[in-house]
């Protein structure tokens, strides 16, 4: 295990060291100590390494992640895992707003709750939240899956495209063009695999699926009020 004390070496050294790890690195286990809510920790990683951040993080931890597994042993600030491409981010505590914004791939797991705009404009990322999510989550979601074991706030999936949403609890309200959909066997299979990948023990049959009604895919004056 390699240790980087953020207060000691500074953010630039932490990230530069992690960026220097290649595809073939033998140093695959890293820990970042004393994060103290710093921003942009472990962003832009691109190697099959595991990084444990020993505390809470500020904005954009794990931003644009590729390949790496990042474990945040605390709560995570806004935009954590934004534009993630691949790999995995696990947050032990709660996640602030914009979690996984525009993420193209990979998996983000939140053991606590996620705030508003969780998965905003998601483009292929899978997000699994053990608790609740806030309002306007998955706004303009294009692709990927958002799994919520608790409740969802107002306007879930507003103006979404092809992203899928699975919610076990209540949804306060659905956003424009987001509707409840039938849970077919392939969706149960997908949900089972997502929960398994997230390490969360929940019964897939207790979830409801939501997604786009696709009525806003083409401009129509009769839909003008929905925009």
């Amino acid at each position: 295990m390699q240790t980087l004390d953020l207060q000691d070496v500074g953010l630039r050294t932490v990230n530069a060291t992690l960026h220097a790890q290649s595809e073939q690195t033998n140093q695959t286990a890293w820990e970042v100590t004393n994060p103290r809510g710093a921003h942009a920790i472990a962003c832009g990683l691109d190697a099959p390494i595991e990084v444990s951040v020993k505390g809470s993080t500020g904005y954009y931890c794990g931003g644009m992640n590729q390949q790496a597994t990042i474990h945040i042993e605390g709560s995570a600030g806004p935009g954590t895992g934004e534009n993630i491409m691949s790999g995995k981010i696990v947050i032990e505590g709660d996640a602030s707003q914009y979690l996984g914004a525009t993420g193209h791939g990979g998996l983000i797991v939140v053991k606590g709750n996620a705030s508003s705009r969780c998965g905003i404009s998601m483009k292929g990322v899978d997000i699994v939240v053990q608790g609740n999510i806030g309002h306007m989550s998955a706004f303009m979601g294009q692709s990927g899956n958002l799994v919520v074991c608790g409740d969802a706030g107002d306007a879930l999936g507003d103006s979404c495209y092809e992203a899928r949403f699975f919610v076990r609890g209540k949804v306060k309200s659905l956003g424009a063009d987001c509707v409840q959909k039938e849970m077919r066997p392939e969706h149960l299979e997908l949900l089972t695999s997502l929960l398994e990948a997230a390490g969360i023990d929940a019964d897939p049959t207790e979830f409801t699926r939501y997604g786009s009604a696709r009525t806003l895919y083409h401009f129509d004056v009769d839909n003008a009020g929905a925009y």
Binding site: L11, R12, N15, A16, H19, H39, A40, C43, G44, D46, G58, Y59, Y60, G63, M64, Q66, P78, G79, E82, N83, M85, Y98, A101, T102, H104, R117, I120, S121, K123, G124, F139, M140, Q142, S143, S159, Y161, E162, Y217, H218, F219, V221, A224
Partner: protein, 448 residues
Amino acid sequence: MTAQDSKGIPLTTPRLSATFTPDVNSDIRRAAATGIYDIRGGGAKRKLPSFDDLLFMGASISRYPLEGYREKCETSVTIGALNAENPIELDIPITIAGMSFGALSGPAKEALGRGASAAGTSTTTGDGGMTPEERGHSSKLVYQYLPSRYGMNPDDLRKADAIEIVVGQGAKPGGGGMLLGQKISDRVAEMRTLPGGIDQRSACRHPDWTGPDDLEIKILELREITGWKVPIYVKVAGARPYYDTTLAVKSGADAVVLDGMQGGTAATQDVFIEHVGLPTLAIIRPAVQALQDLGMHRKVQLILSGGIRSGADVAKAMALGADAVAIGTAALIALGDNDPKWEAEYNALGTTAGAYDDWHEGRDPAGITTQDPDLMARLDPVEGGRRLRNYLKVMTLEAQTIARACGKNHLHNLEPEDLVALTMEAAAMARVPLAGTDWYPGKPGTTY
């Protein structure tokens, strides 16, 4: 003989309303027929105070000119040396503005890259990600970071020579984008992670930050991801240029791109283009003032765009304090957009060469603002690149001609003192004297 009615009373001349003009009436009829606002490409078409309302005074007994063909007039510019390990070094201060693959064809993007590279300047991606054609043919490529984040990925980010965080654009300050289904080809759809053929919307706000405090952190993140190697620009629409420039600089931008309302868009509501935002002439002095007040003028570069057409425009922008300019619409015209040789086809589309602005419909006869393979094939990217290079060279020569006449051995040495205004409005906006006077509206110390 005066026309008379049946009783022999002279008829008055038919008089069109200055309020309900034929243009306005056609807008009303169109709205009544369709129930939806008009969408078009391009920038503001209305008559605006502009660089045409300014003149250089040139040399005289009190100012010595430089010899036109003997004495050098430098044109190079460095952008982003404040924080970046590898600032952008350009031979000329005229860059190519951001335009998306999707809005433009692949060959058009390639032609822009070829032309810009041959002229020693940069080109810029747009709301659709980076294409290999564009990267491959652009020696200096600026990668736009937009609210939609279509095609955004860290690999392309690291291939860029600079990053431009787009907060707004002059044609639509506060507006998002749209790309209608007919231009969402399979390739465009794949790059944007969208179903093919749908009408695609782009958000107007970034999904993971709001306000200058967040922007500062976003810039930090992008610098960390790219190892502090490349400059980070912030592009804002001409709305509140003093405050927007101040906030961009305080957020850590290496360069501010400021876009006036004559700057084009791929597609937006006509009402937005014509009625929101400020003319390019009106935005530069407040922005320069902001940089000067922060002690950052010439340290953070100011790139001005929005209706720049000629070397005279370049020289005027630089005299008023810009470090460089960006062109979009003018570059497309250089490639062949709105060329009269396609007049019959423009007529078939209900328009005429010079007025064609339905870029969003994808039926561009010049093969530039389209994804139709047959139309796209009309633009030879090599020839297009050559034309753009020629145009950029001419603009540079024109700007040098003016600078030498003003006794300046670098375009950056042009200054407001070299200029006068032809109208009160231009004098007030540019803060240079009305020609023949030593006064402009709002001049400090002036009493009314």
